[in-house]
Symmetry: C2
Subunit: 413 residues, 2 copies
């Protein structure tokens, strides 16, 4: 899948994200090249304008700033909404030990906004089976444990438990879900799975088969306790490295006469160390974790956040900093909601008027506040709440009723 | 897997059974060659003597006549029984439309005897998922329907519902069972699955993966409602074409630190048309079905049962008939319990004293009676009985308490 340009083309798949290497230097991900390569569409301003017109609210900061930047048939979702027809949301994560990091939050924060604005039901898949299958050293009970712990983090993002189903594959695999897994598996050849994901003959059969498990939540009849037997179209917000799974899912959906899921893709959340890579749960200094203390956040950003500033204060005042590669600025792009304030910071840092220290200070403050808010809700997560979100015998509300108070808050003045 | 001897070697795998072709002529299956090729062991008289000594009952007619003829570590099962330690039984079937045929009954009849003699619990897997995966034209709901219908036939063989769990994969796939499926899938490479079963790159990923579903009932923790979390060894009676699945299962069991399932293999039940093939549910004239009327049984045997007799009555009285290839005689070998009577028939038919017509008449009578007995019980199968056998929330009795009355009947005088 990597193109040959210069020394090594960029690699983007569910297990590896790495920018091009040109003359031995690691480059940032070229998202335009990626969109061409994958065959997705860029989200443009007319689409955002239409979204605003239909919903009456300003597009989420991630959309405004091009962080959710690419899609497959998101226009169909807008068509449905315009006609008063339902859709639902599906996202997921491969659980890991310890708490989630702020990069992991991105699709979830965006899903919360989508749920609030559209009133759509949401299913969240925790792929503990996948993690076990792909990690030789991981025990299956640990994979499951991580899934439940990650679920508790996810519950802290403010989803409506009456409209949201969070599930571990190991727990939920059964009747209607398994039926779809089998139908999807029948529709994908060994060659297709291997070519799409780059598997070889020594890869275990679980790996080749897993795409059928990740595809199946795209089909609403996997969730009778939410949708009954209705065939409701799906929107999948995810990081763009997951696209191969869903490209294959859309092909299969067609064969199975199911709705093809629409996709909306996010750029990668930069690791503290800088451009060209994504955050990794296994490298603690590469990320800010949801359970980091304010001091840890401060130290990580001060010590490890890759700076786009000049080497000395004098040079910096002269030439200014490079916002594009500066990680603290990139984090503000994700988390500082005020467009004017962000624009001012960009101006001042680029000109050198704002120092690296000051920029980092601002980033620290914003991230501390974000994490603090989540930790407050996280502390209130009880077994009862876990049950409300995860128990598949509890029916959900799949009607497209927005959570009205939030929408009113978001309305443009 | 086929050896090269003469024109074409014999083929034995879960999807095809065919004898050698020598000078264009189809031969019967060479079971000794097969045992060598697969690496199983022949069941010998000392083993049968030990079985008789330990249980106090005469070995089942299938064992006495070498119809269950091969094994992997059946001696370990006898060791367990001798030490008063538990084991359980696992067999299965790929469901097909319509009623089962008498060849399908063989592993089940043998399991019933094993259950009665040893008092072991029994799990019976209906692989509706497999049938769907491997048959391009089969609808998934039909596969499931066949499973339930076949289950009702199986219930008519006299199993103890308190010690027997019959399940459809599509219905039962969940938590503990799925956990084992995933563990097994992680332990089998694409290459292993492909080489064992002869798959190629255009085979769907469901096919490559399915071995993990057939393997998992060999592990007792797939069935907490029967065994709790105990790790109880398993004996798998099956037709010998299923051996590749379990050869791989035994390898995986070792890696997973589970007990390796023991195997006991049956020869193929001959199609009416004769040696070298096995019965097929899709060719109605190749088999006697459980729901055939006495007239249908009579006509099928008279018309289609391959005869080992001579071409004319005179030649027959002169040279006698070939019992080895005569299908009516082979059926009596399976179903006529009286050893002396069978020996007499063999003598008289071989000498020509008994005509083909008389032999067929005897076969018809025996098969009619067998089928009649089953139909009588089949007529009493209610939804309640189905629930007793198939509901996974109903605990089962896994203690090794034999069903005493039957054992007393079977005791040698």
């Amino acid at each position: 899948m990597a193109e040959q340009t210069g020394n090594t083309g960029q690699t983007v798949n569910p297990w590896k994200v790495q920018g091009e290497i040109v003359d031995g230097k690691l480059q940032a991900i070229d998202y335009n090249k990626l969109v061409d390569q994958f065959g997705t569409r860029l989200i443009d301003q007319p689409m955002l304008d239409r979204l605003e017109k239909l919903t009456g609210v300003r597009p989420h900061v991630f959309l405004r700033r091009g962080l959710f930047f690419s899609h497959r048939e998101f226009n169909k979702i807008l068509d449905l909404y315009e006609k008063g027809k339902p859709f639902y949301l599906y996202t997921g994560r491969g659980p890991s030990s310890g708490s989630m990091h702020v990069g992991h939050m991105i699709p979830f924060l965006f899903c919360k906004w989508l749920q609030d604005v559209f009133g759509a039901a949401l299913v969240i898949q925790l792929t503990d089976d996948e993690k076990f299958i792909f990690n030789p050293d991981l025990k299956i009970d640990d994979a499951h444990k991580f899934a439940i712990e990650n679920a508790k983090d996810i519950m802290s993002f403010g989803f409506d438990p009456k409209k949201t189903f969070i599930f571990s594959d190991l727990d939920y695999m059964s009747g209607p879900f398994y039926k779809n897994v089998i139908k999807v598996a029948k529709s994908i050849t060994t060659n297709q799975s291997r070519a799409t994901f780059g598997f070889n003959d020594s890869d275990n059969i679980g790996k080749l088969h897993f795409v059928s498990v990740q595809a199946s939540p795209s089909f609403s009849n996997s969730f009778p306790h939410i949708f009954g037997t209705a065939n409701i179209p799906c929107l999948v917000p995810c990081a763009i490295d997951q696209d191969p799974y869903f490209r294959l899912t859309r092909e299969v959906a067609q064969k199975l006469k199911y709705h093809k899921p629409s996709l909306i893709h996010a750029k990668f959340f930069p690791a503290l160390q800088g451009p060209g890579t994504k955050m990794s749960a296994s490298i603690t200094t590469s990320a800010i974790f949801i359970n980091d203390t304010p001091n840890q956040i401060k130290n990580k950003i001060n010590k490890y956040a890759f700076s786009g500033g000049q080497d000395t204060a004098e040079l910096h005042r002269l030439h200014g900093g490079n916002c594009e590669v500066d990680v603290s600025f990139q984090y503000l792009k994700f988390f500082l909601e005020d467009d004017e304030e962000l624009a001012l910071i960009e101006k001042q840092y680029s000109s050198g008027e704002m120092s690296t220290g000051q920029l980092k200070q601002k980033c620290i403050a914003v991230v501390q506040e974000l994490v603090k808010g989540i930790q407050e809700i996280r502390a209130t997560v009880t077994d009862e709440l876990v049950d409300q979100f995860m128990n598949p015998t509890i029916p959900k509300d799949a009607s497209m009723k927005p959570c009205v108070p939030q929408v009113q808050e978001l309305k443009i003045e």
